[in-house]
Symmetry: C2
Subunit: 371 residues, 2 copies
Amino acid sequence: MTEYRERSMMARAVQLAWRGRYSTHPNPRVGCVIARGDTILGEGWHERAGEAHAEARALSQAGAAARGATAYITLEPCSHFGRTPPCARALIDAGISRVFAATQDPNPSVSGRGVEMLREAGIRVSVGLLADEAAQLNPGFMKRMNTGRPWVRLKMAASLDGRTAMASGESQWITGDEARRDVQRLRAVSDAILTGVGTVLADNPSLTVRREELGDIGRATEPSRQPLRVIADRDARTPPAATILRGGKVHVFCASSTIDTAPAQDLAALGIRLKGVAWKDNGVDVAELLDSLGALGINELLVEAGPTLAGTFISENLVDELWLYQAPVFLGSTGRPTAHLPLETMAEKVEWTVKDRRQVGEDQRLILVRR
Amino acid sequence: MTEYRERSMMARAVQLAWRGRYSTHPNPRVGCVIARGDTILGEGWHERAGEAHAEARALSQAGAAARGATAYITLEPCSHFGRTPPCARALIDAGISRVFAATQDPNPSVSGRGVEMLREAGIRVSVGLLADEAAQLNPGFMKRMNTGRPWVRLKMAASLDGRTAMASGESQWITGDEARRDVQRLRAVSDAILTGVGTVLADNPSLTVRREELGDIGRATEPSRQPLRVIADRDARTPPAATILRGGKVHVFCASSTIDTAPAQDLAALGIRLKGVAWKDNGVDVAELLDSLGALGINELLVEAGPTLAGTFISENLVDELWLYQAPVFLGSTGRPTAHLPLETMAEKVEWTVKDRRQVGEDQRLILVRR
């Protein structure tokens, strides 16, 4: 059994890593503590891609005192020169004598190399302390490294009778202020937000993070950019005047045959990236879409879409987490369904495990994963 | 401010009263404590109509020690000869010197008379201690005495996407064992259970209390009878072989013009009580139905009905409590709606206050009241 002290130090490193929740993408969130016994000598976390890694910051704070000390890191230190020098080398050079890493680097091409480099330098290395807690820091980075696809969060706001809008499409506002602020935080941790052209045409949303609605972000680093906005739009029907096209990068995924059409070229002329993907009867080929987004370095994807696209994600079992905001209202039996999901028998029902359930203002937020 | 001791004693009386939750109907649940200082001399609760009242039981336990003692009673003691002698007289004869009553008798024709009788005998009487807690013992009795109608609980079992059944009608089982046991307890506290003939024809339910599924009822008195089962059935289509017609009393509310038809007379021949009421476009005249049930002495009505009847109760704002059992599943967009409730605009949405929210096995139970 690992010592209480060691668990405490790693817990602190995890806590530090969370400070990068709005800012590290596409890099992972990483925290590091340098300590001798119960005394913390240096703390660091990764803030932004291109800037210092967690280990470098913690070592810099510890200075010469790092010699002979222990490093607690939420992720295996890197072994390669990227935009910054390898952290494994820095730990060795600083004279660190013991390393705890919560998780291995999930990137198959470098996994284990950092640990190896440390061990070759005579440093005792243990991997796995608070591994679950550390993995939760980076569900998207972990999944993308393993599968090439982003972590998919599907967000829905519905009534207790399972409606997301009136038959007319009227839907503002089902949930309250606090739930909408919570969605701002969800957007801010996301690398990309996906919607369908139907939502763009009906609601003309911006799908940006509005900093003033994020509220107090505590000691987290300020969001450094808007998430990439992604529109599934077979025929490039997104109007050039659509609000979503302003305020940051936008990708439009259309049918391959659409790319050369006038509407698509009009969008391209605005600087919108267009990519042709396959379409099926029920809409975009979501699996191919996810592969493309993974290739773009998207770790965490938030889907804020209408019932059709939402239903496709659910029926193809491509949702990692369903974030369901439930308002204590009935919108009536003529309202729009939560998701387009035609099922015939009880045996086909979609079963969820409730991972988290909490009150958000007057509403309830459920985080659901497929059973 | 009332003394801690007095609040504790009344809380004990409320606790005792709850022991009659399955058995006192149509009488109210009442508890009584006879005490001197911190010493409880006698305790009683009403168990069944026709049997001793709470005060009589507590006085009997206290015996001669009651002289000069204080009585804590959840409801104003009765002043009239009913099936038992008046409790106010018994308290006087026992030499009680001080009485706390949590609530006045809500029956307008006797309210205040018990208190008056006690005061005339020189007893100091205070009314209102833990009044809310005591009122919750008898929402139906209180409401019926004030309005002539029962307390209406609408029970629904739905998925997170707001469906109560598949399009085919298949609905067994949406919720889990624990939720179904909870519904048994809900039935057992109810004086009557209302359903529509559609549900009878589709599901052939019994709507009885199955004692073995009630589980441990603690120190509560055993249920003494089945709740009255009530069917809204305009044309007397309930099949004489229907399961619901067995296992206790059944009332069929049909259209007045149906009473003399052969199907109605076939039911009457089985001992089923038929009553003609008005029908409107969207079904039975629920207000008239509630008046009739109130006149029958029904305090607490449980509605277990299909979407049409449920929708009528909601749209006519006749639901006192909506008990919604939510299973962590999606049944899909082709499933049956929670309630037939055609609404056009967000402004018409039905807003609920969550009075209670708790986990029941894998499911969530919400008790909702109209905002």
